[in-house]
Subunit: 248 residues, 8 copies
Amino acid sequence: MNNEDIKKLLESVKNNEIEIDKAMKVIEDLPYKELGFAKIDNHRELRVGYPEVIYCAGKTIEQVVKIIEFMLTKNNNILATRATKEMYEEVKKICPEANYNELGRTITIKKRSDKTTNSYIAIVSAGTSDLPVVEEAFETAKILGNRVEKITDVGVAGIHRLFSSLDVIRGAKVVIVVAGMEGALASVIGGLIDKPLIAVPTSVGYGANFGGLSALLCMLNSCSSGVSVVNIDNGFGAAYNASIINKL
Amino acid sequence: MNNEDIKKLLESVKNNEIEIDKAMKVIEDLPYKELGFAKIDNHRELRVGYPEVIYCAGKTIEQVVKIIEFMLTKNNNILATRATKEMYEEVKKICPEANYNELGRTITIKKRSDKTTNSYIAIVSAGTSDLPVVEEAFETAKILGNRVEKITDVGVAGIHRLFSSLDVIRGAKVVIVVAGMEGALASVIGGLIDKPLIAVPTSVGYGANFGGLSALLCMLNSCSSGVSVVNIDNGFGAAYNASIINKL
Amino acid sequence: MNNEDIKKLLESVKNNEIEIDKAMKVIEDLPYKELGFAKIDNHRELRVGYPEVIYCAGKTIEQVVKIIEFMLTKNNNILATRATKEMYEEVKKICPEANYNELGRTITIKKRSDKTTNSYIAIVSAGTSDLPVVEEAFETAKILGNRVEKITDVGVAGIHRLFSSLDVIRGAKVVIVVAGMEGALASVIGGLIDKPLIAVPTSVGYGANFGGLSALLCMLNSCSSGVSVVNIDNGFGAAYNASIINKL
Amino acid sequence: MNNEDIKKLLESVKNNEIEIDKAMKVIEDLPYKELGFAKIDNHRELRVGYPEVIYCAGKTIEQVVKIIEFMLTKNNNILATRATKEMYEEVKKICPEANYNELGRTITIKKRSDKTTNSYIAIVSAGTSDLPVVEEAFETAKILGNRVEKITDVGVAGIHRLFSSLDVIRGAKVVIVVAGMEGALASVIGGLIDKPLIAVPTSVGYGANFGGLSALLCMLNSCSSGVSVVNIDNGFGAAYNASIINKL
Amino acid sequence: MNNEDIKKLLESVKNNEIEIDKAMKVIEDLPYKELGFAKIDNHRELRVGYPEVIYCAGKTIEQVVKIIEFMLTKNNNILATRATKEMYEEVKKICPEANYNELGRTITIKKRSDKTTNSYIAIVSAGTSDLPVVEEAFETAKILGNRVEKITDVGVAGIHRLFSSLDVIRGAKVVIVVAGMEGALASVIGGLIDKPLIAVPTSVGYGANFGGLSALLCMLNSCSSGVSVVNIDNGFGAAYNASIINKL
Amino acid sequence: MNNEDIKKLLESVKNNEIEIDKAMKVIEDLPYKELGFAKIDNHRELRVGYPEVIYCAGKTIEQVVKIIEFMLTKNNNILATRATKEMYEEVKKICPEANYNELGRTITIKKRSDKTTNSYIAIVSAGTSDLPVVEEAFETAKILGNRVEKITDVGVAGIHRLFSSLDVIRGAKVVIVVAGMEGALASVIGGLIDKPLIAVPTSVGYGANFGGLSALLCMLNSCSSGVSVVNIDNGFGAAYNASIINKL
Amino acid sequence: MNNEDIKKLLESVKNNEIEIDKAMKVIEDLPYKELGFAKIDNHRELRVGYPEVIYCAGKTIEQVVKIIEFMLTKNNNILATRATKEMYEEVKKICPEANYNELGRTITIKKRSDKTTNSYIAIVSAGTSDLPVVEEAFETAKILGNRVEKITDVGVAGIHRLFSSLDVIRGAKVVIVVAGMEGALASVIGGLIDKPLIAVPTSVGYGANFGGLSALLCMLNSCSSGVSVVNIDNGFGAAYNASIINKL
Amino acid sequence: MNNEDIKKLLESVKNNEIEIDKAMKVIEDLPYKELGFAKIDNHRELRVGYPEVIYCAGKTIEQVVKIIEFMLTKNNNILATRATKEMYEEVKKICPEANYNELGRTITIKKRSDKTTNSYIAIVSAGTSDLPVVEEAFETAKILGNRVEKITDVGVAGIHRLFSSLDVIRGAKVVIVVAGMEGALASVIGGLIDKPLIAVPTSVGYGANFGGLSALLCMLNSCSSGVSVVNIDNGFGAAYNASIINKL
């Protein structure tokens, strides 16, 4: 409800085209609209095609199914992250067209064929063990309507593999780098490109890896200037971020 | 040296227009040129107007002066971060037009009047103690050619102050949030805007703040999806990042 | 045994109304009575109706059943926290009126109908994954005789949801805020109310959440002045605290 | 602006008693008023007599003086924490009646003689090195209008000293416990009283104290149920909290 | 092999009573004997009756059985710690008189009836969840030939329980205090007795307990002077230490 | 005040040899005496010759002087730890016979010539940088009336130096091991002796030493069974502990 | 492709023995060859007989089998670390000569009988629980073609066992020390030998061991100069390192 | 004293050429000789020309001067690390030929012209702030008689600088990599060379660098197999290690 809308409403009141009680109702809702919480949230979804996102960890199968059941009544694409296969099996019963990415642990339901972006997000990863995070980022970026390129297994232990893919990485509008262990890949790519780079530390590794802490600290201390970081294993967050940037 | 260049070289060899030894020399250099490191770096600076950046911490006054002396021979804007007042005094002797931001500890030298962006970066901060980081980010963003809006002292302890500035924040192309203590401001703004948000935890606080760790962890675990994080007190890094995004 | 009692005792000794040996016995016991540990503890329970609380973690089913069996001989309400369903099944056999809150993992047995307070405790939580802690706090507050209002799922990622419930929160005598991830909700509410706020960090989250450390540090460093904190996931402790305050 | 106000406004519009532009202006302001941020904040101060609090750490002497200069134009008591003696000397020049607590590093200016509470806050501390935190809490509680009792140097290494003061502690409406090293005093007192207890870990100690971490963890893990915790060395926060409770 | 032995050997060489080759062999062994490693170790066992101790964690059932099988050929008491019930079942087959303490996870085999000490070790614990560590300490102290008194469940949340047992604690020659959560019991007892106190932090607790870290730091920072600390949950180490002291 | 004293008091009351008011006064003090806090503390000092100990860190010079001034009125030896040279200079003015150990930062005043123990405490240290902690332990042990042997600079990097002193170490009744860096010396000696060993980690080292954490963890995890640990750099605590054991 | 190769290629072009397009193809690949990534990697394997190494953790059985299936087509020895028994069972089906080291969790396939080195690597370990890491290092060193000597169970708690094996340790060209708990063995051996020493901290231990952190910090802070460290439990990395040194 | 020596001694005893008392004396010393501690240490120095090394941190100027004064009486090269300029000024008075490396904080005194190795150690560093560690390593390696090549400022933010120096790095027998911040340089070089690599994390950086922890964890978790690590800022240790390897 923009300023024009308010003006019209007041003119309707003046012209007796609307009852005062009804007008009051509308204005009562105004604060949130004026602050733009609920409404703008709705607008945003319609406008940019962002699906509702369900974080399944810590939810029961029943809860996940009920949420999706409700969301199916709306015309939005649906994304559920950290979903178990059991969750998917139950979701499939009420929505046979639901897709499951086993590695990435995502359920996606495409209800609208939104236009995909021309520019693309590059998702670069260091090792094969980082693939679950890559896949979560991939599914998130796709359902949000982005063109995506994956470049996997280009860790710095064999840096020449990275150079072979440098053109694809440099062609992206925004780059996601997924790496565990020492997470050095983010710094190396950050020094080679001129685009925003979102680094995702993964919990891949052992010993003094401390559940991803080593990669996290490494990325936060990157000597390359264009690197920002999201939480450990947070493929969804990285892709959500990248999508916002890709659509600027 | 692109494919066309290589073809020509080989034809020259075939036609005896160039000696094998010389051709070998050229091809020997190929890798670095093909990877395009040094050269592209130079191009990048000319193209996007990014100045050389000198991180002064751990450098002597003499070193800083010498580096700037050399850089003054090139036609680039100059930015030095974490610079002491003593450094500035010496720099001023060789470059009277140098500026010093005491709070932000930056030396800037504007050698070219590059066009400023139309879109702007919003730098939002929680408390007055976060201002040094804000100023470092501000000077960085300005010298990189960005339009910048500062919104300071809108921490969540008095959240209504934030709402008064929401329009300015929402109008930005990219938002930097600078906050110490519990760093909650990043999450709150992240839930209210639809733009990339770069969070900078600061070391402001005491006790269980542990030098910025509390704000850092808070921001990394933000429940708002569009938040990415840079190192504690890293105003420069946030602004560098934001500048890349603002110029997309 | 107060000063008057001692005086009487000594007069009895003087008047030969009591033997020295017996008087010695009484005085030997004096310290504990004067310090009033055991007795006052008993009095306290009768007076404020606080049930015995059994922390079941690390106890066997048999131990839990035996403790409850003994407590059933007293006229107190009973609360057992961190109880498994198996524990409840066995408790039910000896006390069919026992209730089990599956989410909150509590067993409660109401043996007395104490008056409920007029003022109420508000329990506010950020996300659905925080509900187990909310339920533990809820059951604790109820069995301690408090009126309780729950406001769930008002995390700062969608802060307008919080504002809709602000009146209920402000009407409470004391507020419990339960939040995981970055725990920012405590700071935001702390800036909006004028009542004691007890923050409970939860272990909800992943990666750099480090088992609730991020929310804990966030809450300890809250920029809002009226916030105090209990241990991670300690819904019981928060409610016990809130009950003491609510009954002041 | 309540519902009645809105109704009147709309009727004025209908009756042409107010121009649409003016009415729009009023409604535009509605959200903030309805959410009641700024206003209620002002009300709260007038109502409960809470002074503005200035956290001096990280502020220059000039900034502190200017803030106090402005605040002197209002009829409120003034409290500045973490203030250096130099700050006080300058403040005294513009306000000779300002007081300085050297140990507690607080500046207080009493502009109104508010009634002091009948009930009191007990501030209990373990050792002499905890006194700066005790004094900060003491000055905060006093300026907020509370009766306060200090019981110092009753650490658990000589627990009989504590028992001598138990009556004073038990007589309080709310108890603040200040302790460094292992912070055991909070648990011991927590097991002896039936009132809210706010624990303040201090950074007193050395070695594996790690800047107050040992006392902080100790207090968070207290086996006594009625203990909540504030940040390390945060005497102000504890007293602010206690004041809210003491005035319930 | 003492000095006298060496003298005799050399005289034997001089008198041709022993061949040089044989004498060389003996002297070759000298270092270890002179340093007294292996031999003295053997002597020590015979002298003080200390059993071999088997730390079962990380060993297979077969390995444990084989070690005990070998040790049964010697006339020593046997102690195995961190033993599973499965291990015990297999050990029992080759040694029916073996005992198993299920709570303490120890296997003990008494092969000699050594005299028990007159002085005793007091093992004091805070809560029922600390009992496994108490039992490990108890079995260790017993098999090493010590008189032991157990005082359990006297945590500081109800400190009067402790005072009832103070005489027993004070009568000991050395005191072991076992406590989890905040571990305050060690400091309180340390301030009440005049004997060596060995504190054992336990991993009992949750949240910011961090696997026993809170109790460990608390005990290391104890304000009571006579407290020394062993590793988290290390009941064996505490009892071994206490036994050495008890037998001085 | 023992049982005999109480009996006498009561008989005096009975025989009118003492007024009831006076007797009441005495009995009022009883609890603390019966719990034996203050009195036994006094007795203990007279009995075992333990001096009062002043921890100077965080105290002003004036405070230290005043405390010592008061203590000089009693017939006890005096020990002040972590004392600066400035403190000593002032103490010397009121007590010329005061001694200062500059390395150990202790002030000692010998007022009584108590008998020194026959058995001795061995203080073993790894490197020269550990000497301040050694000296604090040494002065503490001496003033408490113990015979002491120092064996310094026998770190494991040149383990043969240790073996030369093994006899002296083995002859002690209790051994203190002071070591920084990796603190391995405690484990090595622990495996060679049959006496209680108190390990003191020091903050000597750099980098991943983290202020003594490396030595602390090393000593807590010692594979040698007879090792217990005190706080980092806590030479006083180790010696106090050792003294209790040495006098058993 | 060395310089000679390039010269030949260019001569072929000159002599029309190769078409320009084909020559271009070859030169296009040059950079990587000149940087020596892929090719040199291949050469290195052929030259030093280093097998491909498969890190199985986080890989499915199918993935491991497929990788080995492919590698069997090349004439290299094969090493898979962190392999489960299930993985081995499947590998055996396609390669019956595969060997499994159950303790070390390695699969090895010897396809070539390379010469074993004359000099040897000594692998020294502290306790029996360190054996899995020892075996991983052993298998790695063997398949890489090294002579290896194992000296196990020589922890510092019984240091004389170490001295018995000192000759074997000193005879090695490079020494690997595997130790958990406090990891002191590395420092002790480091002080006794004159060869490179690679220390492997293990996660063996409990309580304040914190998953190997204690041994890691101990080894990093070793007072012996010739010690370098690899990640916790990283037997493979230590042996790979040692092999490089052993073949110098 | 080898076996031959012992045989001769015994024959002398047999032949009455030496008194038993004197022979006993010799044999008494045997253990240490047989274990070869002191002697071998002396031999080692003469043989490999390793100078005594003085770690100056925590030593007084006087102590450093005295140690060097004594060492000047022997014919060894002298190295003092972490030496202040003040120390050097005093040392120069007694030894004018002493050299001081201000950046590396080392004092070196060359008393013998030992042959320098043919093979060389490459010291590679990431940034200019790492130079103090580089210089400490450089001086150490030089005084130990190694040929050294320094390659500085080749951090991964501009990775092409590294590739220009790859030949020099690959030509070394052993490589030291010095890097702060995220320390990624070690992994990158580790993936490009076939030689032992010793990584030195530095404390260069700020914020989440945590005093070098980020670089340390990064290097320990390196995905490149041939990397081992020394303590933060430990340039001396790295060079000492490298020297041992370089002389194999």
